[in-house]
Amino acid sequence: MLDKELRSMIGDVKDGRMDRRAFIQRLAAVGLTAPLANQILAIGGVAMAQSPNVYKPTKRGGGGPLKLLWWQGPTLLNPHFATGTKDQDGSRIFYEPLASWDEEGHLNPILAAEIPSLKNGGLAADAKSVVWKLKPGVKWHDGKPVTADDLVFNWEYATDPATAAVSVGSYADITVEKVDDLTIRILFKNPTPFWANAFVGAYGCIIPKHLFAEYKGGKSREAPNNLKPVGTGPYKFVEFKPGDLIRGEINPDYHMANRPYFDSIELKGGGDAVSAARAIIQTGEYDYAWNMQVEDEVLLRLEKGGKGKTIYAIGGDIEFIAVNFTDPNTEVDGERSSLKTKHPILSEPKVRQALAMLVDRDSVKKAIYGRAGRTTANYLNGPEEFVSKNTKWEFSVEKAGALLDEVGWKVGADGIREKDGKKLKLLFQTSINGPRQKTQAIVKQACQKAGIDMELKSVVASVFFSSDVANPDTYAHFYADIEMFQIPMAQPDPALAMRRYHSRYVATKENKWQGQNFPRWMNKDYDAAIDAAENEIDPLKRADLYIKCNDWMWQDNVMIPVMHRIKVGAASNTLHPVVSGWANDLDNLQDWYREA
């Protein structure tokens, strides 16, 4: 599509005959969006626009203390060990990556001198290597310079299996080599269109070689600096009490002009989301709180108080109901939901279609998520260029009933549908969590009207998401007919999120249920498209492939999207936080300030 014209336009932008804005507008006119346009320019050799950061303070410091309230306190301060977002946030105050994702899903250089592009020679045309340049003159908090050796060390540290680093996923398939003191080259085994994973974002934070070199591998836990971070970040470490408190003071040698604004930072942990919202919005004791998993109604009521407000950041997190394609009630070779079986009810496409029609997304949004959710028919909801426009959803008990009638599920005497003497009964499981239980109830109600008997089950989160091979209640075992949870998108690229439903990754007893394809859905077209997309360098073709993948999932009703979830924080009225839906709350901490 438009191929020739597009390439000539890219040329125009490169030569300065057309400005970037005009280019983006042209593309928008044909249905493509700004981030995509930017990506096209990047790959076409035009440097990516730096994020439009409106940072007003004109001098460093002077902003007083910044008080953050996390209702789960960080428990460790080594980014390579950060199990949850709370730990990544704690580490991010002191440590920095080469680049972070900004509010619009663009890369914002932090320790990097510039974002690699074809034009500056950072990206290779075959997408098999990336060259990153460090900003010169950046110092660790203890005064030592940051060099390429530190970057190479972080790769070695994370990939050493004895270190037991959580960040290994971002570093495993690459080789990092030093080019000169401030330059590294990342080599990929295969062409990798999404190159911004290692050294970028939460798991990209860099720890100093001179303090951790002795503690690589088996001794990683003993490093004294695991608890006393020495990083490059806007704030220097003062105090840490796991699960309770982190304190930092301004870094007077910070490498960005006029930053940071605050003189000190405090992150208090513990408690619950509702009272955290109170402490920001109602009493104003704190400046910012993360992850406001609070019913919208409550937030709206609190906001009438006036000392604070809620803020929203759109990313790609999706809350969905997955359909089991295998039979959870038949055991084959010591394994239920085995690939050798077919689900007796749900393997019929029309039943799945009916089920999708029984999920009343509007009611779920109205009653539960409010401003923190958007209804959607898609599994893949961002970045914009990957969002399919070909899908739609509707809620209709009548149409669902008609579909079920069509395939022989007739309403019995007790109002429950039956076929060949078998009742239409489904087990619906999820993890214990207020909004999820309420969603379950809404779905169950609609299903009952349509003559489906639905049994609800909820499993405590630490079990549901555990990798315990012996436990039948994990989401990966999927010993239920349908299940609901959320999969976040940690970066503005669909590769990792979509890869998991490839047939190769089906969860089975053989792979100890480590396969990520828990619905056990197999589709050859999908597999081929994913394989092609992973190595496709042309961003347009690549986006097209992922949109197709999304559409296949929609057609097959593998996933019934419940809500496109939006990140919610609470901030005091004067605070100007920079929060991206594509990153953690503190990933752009250096740009936070207070409006006088």
Binding site: T75, G84, P242, L245, G270, A279, Q282, F464, S467, P488
Partner: protein
């Protein structure tokens, strides 16, 4: 006496071993693992979660895990937290001051209210004072702390804006201001816990006093012409305090163990909140240490209570 204490301590060893075994097995059988947050993160391949389980020994057989825990514990090594990868003893010591301060003061407050009120109510049973005290006691122990805690926050923090409801361990002020802030932030949690305790303890003191006050020797003391004060304080209270001492001694481990609900509501970084967050995260080494230390304290304070009996009532002998 010292022989008695020694014997009791020797008996404590097998019972502590038994307790530790039961705790360990129950925790090991509990499902789940501390790495569940990794499961949905697309950046983390599932092998990582599996490798962490293996590395931290979660896939080993239970008896091996127990033996290695026991031998480490005997060497004074409490192990490390799976969640923070930090030594458990440092983690616990960090949390202890807040718990001692808040829960300790609340116990003190409870005693300061319960003993005078209970004693006075018992000397004038069914008087107006007694009725009022009883009514308040009933209300007090019928209201759970999670309710009074939130009520207090709504009244004193949100509506009146007098007191902070987020407990901070690093108060910026120095000198007298530091003390004032420290007291200010503890008022609500101490009240919530203290009043709850005081309510049930008042009832207890009152009935213990009433039991003793009717005995013949009290009448004898009165017949000798001793004043009401002397009779009550020297003759009645000393004997009535024996059951109260047991109650207080058995409450003492709780001073170290923290108050799970109240600590969570007011964000007090104490042992209770450590325990609950560890339980939610399946951080077995921490849960194991906290509960085991708690068990040791219960055993120890039982012994102390028994020794105190002898001091209060010389007729009780140690054999």
């Amino acid at each position: 006496m010292s022989q008695y204490i020694l014997r009791r301590l020797m008996i404590a060893i097998p019972s502590l071993l038994g307790i530790s075994l039961v705790l360990f097995v129950v925790l090991a059988l509990a499902p789940g693992d501390p790495f569940s947050e990794l499961a949905t993160n697309p950046n983390v391949p599932p092998e990582v979660q599996q490798a962490l389980r293996a590395k931290f020994g979660l896939d080993d057989p239970i008896y091996l895990r127990y033996l290695s825990w026991l031998s480490a514990m005997a060497r004074g090594d409490w192990g490390f937290s799976f969640v923070s990868r930090m030594n458990v003893d440092t983690l616990i010591l960090q949390r202890l001051p807040a718990t001692l301060y808040v829960v300790g003061s609340s116990q003190l407050l409870a005693l300061l209210i319960a003993i005078p009120v209970g004693v006075y109510a018992a000397t004038r049973p069914y008087s107006i004072f007694d009725q009022v005290a009883n009514t308040f006691a009933f209300i007090g122990f019928s209201l759970p702390t999670f309710f009074t805690g939130i009520l207090f926050i709504l009244i004193f923090s949100v509506k009146l804006d007098w007191l902070p409801f987020v407990y901070t361990t690093d108060i910026k002020a120095t000198g007298i201001h530091w003390v004032i802030e420290q007291v200010r932030q503890a008022i609500m949690p101490v009240m919530v816990l203290g009043l709850f305790q005081a309510a049930s303890m008042t009832r207890f003191v009152r009935s213990a006093m009433l039991d003793v006050i009717r005995l013949d020797y009290v009448t004898t003391a009165r017949a000798k012409g001793l004043g009401q004060r002397i009779v009550i304080i020297k003759h009645v209270m000393r004997n009535a305090m024996i059951p109260v001492v047991t109650l207080v001694a058995l409450q003492m481990p709780a001073v170290f163990g923290g108050a799970i609900v109240t600590e969570q509501i007011f964000r007090i970084p104490g042992i209770g909140s450590l325990l609950i967050s560890s339980i939610l995260a399946n951080d077995t080494p921490v849960i194991m240490s906290v509960t085991f230390v708690f068990a040791c304290l219960v055993v120890l304070f039982n012994l102390i209570a028994d020794v105190l009996y002898g001091w209060l009532d010389p007729r009780i002998s140690f054999r």
